[in-house]
């Protein structure tokens, strides 16, 4: 979802994208999201009080796909990227899936809902950069062990790009499919500003610069070209000097953008 900040006459025009943490019927319906104060926009959000109005657009983008069968899933979160994994865990549990958490943060005070994680998951492992909570280190330092002990069949992850890249590598080394939710900067959240593009390989093998907001934010990890994020890969559709085959052009024409 995306949230306008600063009020009606704000000089900060751009929406802030957040992942949905929970949706509840309480109080006529509530939507929860988690954020850290990083700049003037999130500082303004942090000052909102009960009954203040927020301008919200959502839900946006492609959600985590759910497995058909009751398989074992490990959910890996980094920092505030942990937030959207909780409703995912509930959905997976309702389908009879086993859920294990691996949650990482910089320090103990940044670990999100450890108690809830322990309650809804079979196991919950924690890592912090400074060792103030759980294991000292990064999520991938313990992920392999969790996958083996839980006999995981699938991996879900949300967090910063370097973490997603590392998680995708660990999942790949265990032969597991991995779904990653990226946290890219966005201006609109609805697919028109073209700010949040990353290079992703399509089912047809063609790399495109795709919008995280509407084509994602969830992608198959092995389809994201993590090494090329922040660049235009030379073989991406429409890259400088790109000479597309007629097949690539036909595929593009037939492809539905909405």
């Amino acid at each position: 979802m995306s949230v306008a900040v600063g009020g009606d006459h704000s000089s900060t025009l751009l929406r802030r994208p957040f992942a949905v943490h929970d949706v509840k019927p309480d109080y006529g319906g509530t939507v929860e999201f988690l954020f850290a104060v990083r700049g003037s926009g999130t500082a303004w959000l942090a000052e909102r009080r009960s009954r203040d109005l927020l301008d919200v657009v959502g839900p946006l983008g492609r959600p985590f796909p759910l497995p058909r069968d009751p398989v074992n899933c490990v959910l890996v979160g980094g920092g505030s990227g942990s937030a959207p994994l909780f409703p995912l865990a509930q959905s997976l549990r309702r389908r009879g899936c086993r859920v294990d958490f691996v949650l990482g943060a910089t320090s103990a005070d940044r670990v999100f809902s450890a108690i809830t994680a322990r309650r809804i998951a079979e196991t919950a492992a924690f890592t912090t950069d400074d060792g103030s909570f759980g294991t000292r280190g990064r999520v991938c330092d313990v992920l392999g062990r969790v996958i083996e002990e839980a006999r995981s069949d699938a991996v879900y992850a949300c967090g910063p790009m370097p973490m997603l890249r590392a998680v995708t590598a660990v999942a790949g080394s265990h032969g597991l499919p991995v779904q990653v939710a990226v946290e890219e900067a966005m201006a609109c959240g609805v697919g028109i500003c073209m700010s949040c593009v990353i290079p992703v390989v399509g089912e047809d093998g063609i790399t495109r610069m795709v919008r995280s907001c509407v084509d994602g934010p969830v992608f198959r990890g092995e389809h994201v070209r993590f090494d090329d994020v922040g660049t235009i890969p030379f073989d991406a559709l429409g890259a400088p000097g790109w000479k597309g085959s007629s097949a690539a052009r036909a595929a593009e024409s037939a492809r539905d953008i909405a």
């Binding site: 025009l13 890219e184 201006a187 609109c188 609805v190 610069m209 024409s253 037939a254 953008i257």
Partner: protein
């Protein structure tokens, strides 16, 4: 009372003056989730080139006071995919299309205009003159040289269908916007769109590097509105017969009134679509209310009002 909102851009008749700005609404499909695309005057598409284009690397945007810098590098599907896939969709929803074209030279612009002319249902062509001219050693845009801009406009005009108006989209950060407008009008532009983003930079003060990957970006949003209104005013003063789409930081219905009073016949909503995906219909509603509140029965009566002392409403 409901004011008559109809307006004209050369031979193109629009039910109302609120259109989208190029590059701020895709081809209309995303915004159609939020409102009926047929309700607004027209959708100006993102600038299309001959080939699919991946654009510039990220980060592509930076927030600035009352605006933003962006450098998407004209990422797009290319003209053929647009004509086969996106234009038919827009027309099927009852939308009107102003097709923005971007080329790397008069040859590409001419070929783009020729292909657009083979399609049915294009309301107008907008020529994006703020593209780097590869033949210019210092990387200047076509709009930076009135003669180069005129050559591009002339090529597009000669390749486009005679019943499709050609609008030249002008830059504001040029030595003399009136001279640029005059050169485009002399090259048989049927109308002008004013103004494009302004070249600017924002430096990330943590890294001390430019905040957008390409270094320079295009500044848009309410921060540039007085400058855009000023350009419309000056050009309308000299060329009162030439229809203008005013654009630059339109956020509310009274902003539309302001551009039209300065001389615009239609007004494009750009960056504010990012902040509020329903902005176009909200702005249109506010504009209608603003006319009603002032007892104005025809929107076209407002065009150029700022040039006529004593006729304020």
């Amino acid at each position: 009372m409901n004011a008559d909102l109809r307006t004209r851009l050369g031979s193109l008749r629009l039910p109302n003056p609120v259109v989208t700005a190029a590059g701020c609404a895709g081809s209309g499909r995303e915004l159609a989730q939020f409102f009926d695309i047929a309700e607004i005057g027209a959708v100006t598409t993102k600038s299309l080139m001959l080939e699919p284009r991946a654009g510039r690397p990220a980060p592509r945007m930076a927030e600035t006071p009352s605006g933003m810098l962006s450098a998407t590098g004209m990422q797009g599907p290319g003209i053929d995919v647009f004509l086969q896939r996106d234009l038919p969709w827009l027309l099927s929803r009852g939308g009107r299309a102003i097709v923005s074209l971007a080329g790397s030279g008069a040859g590409e612009f001419g070929e783009l205009a020729r292909r657009v002319s083979e399609a049915e249902g294009v309301g107008a062509i907008e020529v994006n003159l703020s593209c780097p001219n590869p033949a210019d050693p210092s990387g200047r845009h076509f709009a930076d040289d009135a003669a180069q801009a005129a050559a591009v406009v002339q090529t597009v005009r000669s390749h486009a269908r005679s019943d499709v108006p050609v609008l030249a989209k002008l830059a504001a950060d040029v030595p003399d916007v009136v001279e640029l407008a005059g050169a485009c009008v002399a090259a048989r532009a049927d109308g002008l769109t004013m103004v494009n983003t302004l070249r600017g930079m924002s430096v990330d003060t943590r890294t001390l590097r430019p905040a957008v990957a390409g270094g320079m970006g295009g500044l848009s949003g309410p921060a540039i509105r007085p400058l855009a209104v000023g350009c419309v005013y000056r050009v309308h003063e000299v060329f009162p017969e030439v229809p203008i789409i005013g654009t630059g930081g339109v956020r509310t219905g009274t902003d539309v009134l302001e551009f039209m009073a300065a001389g615009a016949s239609a007004v494009a909503v750009g960056t504010v679509n990012f902040a509020d995906p329903s902005a176009c219909v909200r702005v249109l509603r506010e504009f209608t209310e603003a006319l009603d509140a002032r007892g104005v029965s025809r929107a076209s009566d407002v065009v150029g009002a700022a040039h006529r002392p004593g006729t304020g409403v």
